[in-house]
């Protein structure tokens, strides 16, 4: 149905900048963000009429799909990513405007689901119940993941500050 793809094309044009930004927050780097957005949009576009008619809010559906795809993708490639994370000064790492931002670096150490919870909470401004619905987990899980993430971020920041000041804290 060509009309359907025209409609989907318009949707992509209108939402792409916001989705790339959101993907950047979710994945922590521009390349993974672009990859995630493209993969999810292509999947959703291939069944656009259904998504459009049944979900009521295609954009929210896309964003939830991205959070979930990010979590499951990182579950698959986690080992590589953890290893690749170690040499921070590697010359082939693409330019990341937040490369020297301690909080950004701390976020990168979070397991994907914890990161997704942080993004849904502080980027999207969703409630615990909404996050639970989006990720398909219980509210209890959201609460515990959020609390672990916050504790971990605080620790990392404390470590980063300590290194910066040479006090060796943590």
């Amino acid at each position: 149905m060509p009309g359907e793809f025209v409609d989907f094309g318009d949707f992509v044009q209108a939402t792409l900048p916001g989705l790339l930004r959101y993907g950047h927050a979710l994945t922590g780097n521009p390349h993974d963000a672009a990859d995630l957005v493209q993969t999810v949009l292509e999947k959703i576009g291939s069944r656009w009429a259904y998504v459009h008619d049944k979900t009521g809010d295609p954009l929210a559906y896309v964003r939830r799909s991205m959070a979930n795809a990010h979590v499951s993708r990182w579950r698959r490639t986690r080992r590589e990513n953890l290893v690749a994370d170690l040499p921070d000064t590697s010359p082939h790492v693409p330019d990341d405007p937040f490369e020297h931002e301690p909080l950004w670096r701390a976020l990168r150490t979070l397991p994907p689901r914890q990161r997704a919870v942080m993004v849904l909470r502080y980027y999207e401004g969703l409630s615990e119940a909404e996050i639970a619905g989006a990720l398909g987990v219980t509210q209890g899980t959201v609460k515990s993941q959020a609390s672990k993430a916050i504790a971990s971020l605080r620790m990392k920041l404390r470590q980063a500050d300590g290194e910066g000041e040479g006090s060796g804290a943590g």
Partner: protein, 274 residues
């Protein structure tokens, strides 16, 4: 320095609101994504078609068993064919049970009941001694012809090398365990098509990208009743109707709101599903 939870939350909100998170979309990103969505949908349809083969094979093999059983009893399993021009000798019909020329026999094969349910006004009852009415239906000739043995120069059973020798190029390969799905195009085919080639059985499925018509005049827009009238042995299947093209292959017509929207030809014997 120990940072409070409130402060951390503020810093998170500030970071996520930072304009440096913006990533400029590449100029052609929209087109690339829409094309990608189209490709995914096409693949899904082909995969569904292949999955449909599994159901069709089960149905057909069940049907064949019935044919044998009924033939041994001398019952008129072949009446399904008899609606068209090939009329079976009456003695085949009378062995074992009395013929009921004006109404379909209740113990006939399932395919006959499907083709002419008792009392259904739109389907003429099989009348072995009379040429019946498919000719009253408007034959569809739009789109390319999908013959009972293949599509253009592509014939069912051809190996991949045979196919390529027919000036047909195969691309977008999606390999499965024993079969590979390709996009076929080139001089050897009237239109581009999705094909499934089995290592063991060769070309087993052809699905033209545009709605093809059969030699019997079923194609884009044909209704289920019309298909059943033209192919009395046709059977409903999920999403459409399957009809025998010849002894070796079935047509699979996918039905949408406007009637037939896709026509596939599939070998009866193949190992691509299940």
């Amino acid at each position: 320095m120990n940072i409070s939870e409130d402060e951390l939350e503020q810093r998170l909100r500030a970071l996520f609101a930072d304009e440096r998170l913006d990533l400029p979309p590449p100029p052609d990103a929209g087109t690339v994504i829409v094309d990608g969505a189209r490709r995914r949908r096409r693949r899904r349809h082909v995969v569904q078609a292949v999955a449909g083969v599994a159901a069709a094979v089960v149905a057909v093999s069940g049907g064949l068993t019935m044919v044998r059983l009924h033939t041994e009893d001398g019952t008129a399993v072949i009446t399904a064919d008899g609606t068209g021009s090939s009329v079976k000798p009456p003695e085949n019909l009378t062995q074992g049970r009395l013929p009921e020329p004006s109404t379909p026999g209740p113990t006939s094969t399932q395919s006959i009941q499907v083709s002419a349910p008792p009392g259904a006004p739109t389907s003429p009852p099989p009348r072995p001694s009379a040429s019946s009415s498919p000719s009253a239906l408007a034959a569809v000739t739009s789109g390319p012809l999908l013959a009972a043995d293949g599509f253009g120069k592509l014939k069912l059973g051809m190996s991949e090398a045979d196919v390529i020798a027919q000036t047909v190029t195969l691309s977008d390969a999606q390999a499965g365990a024993s079969c590979t799905v390709y996009k076929a195009q080139g001089n050897g085919v009237p239109a581009s098509a999705s094909v499934v080639i089995s290592k063991a059985a060769g070309l087993v499925v052809v699905t033209p990208d545009v709605t093809a018509h059969t030699a019997e005049g079923v194609g884009a827009g044909s209704t289920k009743d019309q298909i059943l009238a033209v192919y009395p042995a046709a059977k409903a299947e999920p999403g459409g109707v399957a009809a025998p093209a010849n002894a070796a292959a079935d047509y699979h017509f996918r039905l949408g709101e406007t009637g037939v929207v896709q026509t596939s030809l599939m070998s009866v014997t193949q190992d691509c599903a299940g």
